[in-house]
Amino acid sequence: MSALADAFTVVAIALGVVFFLAGSVGLLRFPDALTRLHALTKADNLGLGLVVLGLAAQAGSVLGALKLLAVWVLVLVAGATVARLIARAAHEPERGA
C-alpha cells in the first residue's frame, strides 16, 4: 500500500514538474504578455494541482490532505485573478494611469 502511494506520488509530482517546466519555457519563449500569461497559468493550475495530488498521498491524514487541497484552491483563485488583472493592464496600456 505504502509502495503504491509512493509510486503515485513520484508519478504525480514528476508530471507536475513537467507542467512547471513547460510553463517556464513558455514564459521565456512566447512573444507577448498574453501568451506568456497563458503559459504561466497552465503551470500554476495543473502543475501545482499535480504536485498537491502527489503530496496528498503522503499527508497521512484526511485533514492534512484537505489543507493541501485548500492551498491549491487558494492559489487557483488568486492566480486567476492576478492573471486577469495583468492581462487587462497589458492589453490597455496607460489606461487612466
Binding site: L74, V77, A78, A80, T81, L85
Partner: protein, 319 residues
C-alpha cells in the same frame, strides 16, 4: 539530497539579492525583493524557524513589497512631472556602498564569531513555559519573557502611522487616504474581493489562535486581516474610513493601550511591570493578543493606504 537543496537555495537567495541591488528600474527591483523575501522564508523553514518564516513571508515579502510598490509608483509619478532622474554622484554612491558593506560585514562577523556552542536561553525558555500556559516558546518570548520589546514594537507602529499621516496636506487633514475609488467593475477582482475575505478572516483568526501552541501569532494573523481589508478597498466594495474617525483611531490605539494597562496592572497585582499573575497568564495573554491583532490589522492597512488625500470634513448636519 537535502544538502543539494540547501546549497541551491543559498545560491539562489544570494543571486536574487544581488539582482535586486543591480536592477535600475524601481518596479523590477521590488519584484526581485519580493522573490528574495519568499526564498528567505523558505530558508527559515529549512532552519526549523517556522514562526520567523511566517513573519518573513507576511511582512518581509508581502507587506514590505506592497509598500515598496507604492513608493516606486510615487517615484515614477514624481520623476515624470518633475526634473529628469538624477543619478547621485560618485561620492554619494561610494559612501552608500561603504555604509551598506559595513552593516552587512558587522552582521556577518557577529554570526561567524559566535562561540561554539552559541550562547542560548532555549533551555530556560522551555523550562518556564508552563507558567505562561503557552505551548509555543516563540510566542512565550514575544508576549511574556520579552513583552517589553513587543510593547515597544506596537508603539513604533503607532508612530509609523502618525508619520505617514503627517504627510497630509493641510486642506485634507482628517480625510480619506488614497485616490477616490473607481466604481467597481464586474470581474475577477470583484469576485475575489467577495469570495476571499470570509476565508481570509478565518485563516487570520486561526493563525492568531494557533500561535499559542504552534507557529503563528498576532502579527501574522493581523497581516492576513489587513490584506483582506485592502482587497475589499481595491475592488471598490468599500472606502477607507476617514483618519479623523474616532472609532478608527481607537482601533489603532487599542492594542498598545491594553498592553500598557496590563503592564501597569502587573506592577500592582504581580510584582513587576508587564508581569502576569501566573494562574491567569493564559487568558491575559490571549486577551492582549486578540486586541493586538485587530490593532495591527488596522495599522498595517492604514500604512498601505497612505496619507489622506481627499474628503476632509464630514458633512455637517443640515447641509
Amino acid at each position: 539530497m537535502a544538502f543539494a537543496f540547501d546549497l541551491a537555495l543559498v545560491l539562489l537567495t544570494v543571486a536574487v539579492a544581488a539582482w535586486t541591488i543591480a536592477l535600475r528600474d524601481g518596479f523590477a527591483a521590488v519584484v526581485a525583493f519580493v522573490v528574495y523575501g519568499a526564498l528567505l522564508a523558505l530558508a527559515w523553514v529549512r532552519l526549523g524557524a517556522i514562526d520567523v518564516a511566517l513573519t518573513e513571508a507576511a511582512i518581509g515579502a508581502g507587506l514590505t513589497g506592497a509598500l515598496l510598490i507604492g513608493a516606486a509608483a510615487a517615484v515614477r509619478r514624481a520623476t515624470r512631472t518633475a526634473l529628469p532622474e538624477q543619478r547621485p554622484d560618485l561620492g554619494t554612491r561610494t559612501l552608500a556602498a561603504v555604509l551598506c558593506a559595513a552593516v552587512a560585514g558587522s552582521i556577518a562577523a557577529g554570526v561567524l564569531l559566535l562561540p561554539e556552542p552559541a550562547p542560548s536561553l532555549a533551555a530556560d525558555a522551555a523550562r518556564h513555559l508552563d507558567a505562561t500556559g503557552l505551548g509555543n516558546p516563540v510566542t512565550a518570548v514575544l508576549i511574556a519573557y520579552r513583552a517589553t520589546d513587543t510593547l515597544l514594537e506596537k508603539v513604533v507602529l503607532v508612530l509609523a502611522i502618525a508619520g505617514v499621516w503627517s504627510f497630509a496636506p493641510d486642506g485634507v487633514w482628517g480625510g480619506r487616504p488614497g485616490p477616490a475609488p473607481a466604481a467597481s467593475q464586474p470581474g475577477a477582482l470583484l469576485l475575489l474581493a467577495r469570495v476571499l475575505p470570509p476565508v481570509g478572516v478565518v485563516v487570520g483568526a486561526y493563525v492568531l489562535w494557533a500561535g499559542a501552541d504552534h507557529p503563528g501569532g498576532a502579527f501574522q494573523g493581523g497581516t492576513i486581516l489587513a490584506a483582506m481589508v485592502l482587497l475589499v478597498v481595491m475592488a471598490g466594495l468599500a472606502d477607507v474610513p476617514r483618519i479623523g474617525s474616532r472609532a478608527l483611531r481607537a482601533m489603532v490605539l487599542a492594542g498598545p493601550m491594553v498592553f500598557l494597562a496590563v503592564g501597569f496592572a502587573g506592577v500592582v497585582i504581580a510584582d513587576a511591570f508587564l508581569a502576569y499573575p501566573v494562574p491567569y497568564a493564559k487568558p491575559i495573554i490571549l486577551a492582549i493578543e486578540i486586541v493586538l491583532t485587530l490593532s495591527i490589522a488596522a495599522t498595517l492597512a492604514l500604512l498601505l493606504a497612505g496619507p489622506p488625500e481627499r474628503d476632509a470634513a464630514p458633512a455637517r448636519p443640515g447641509q
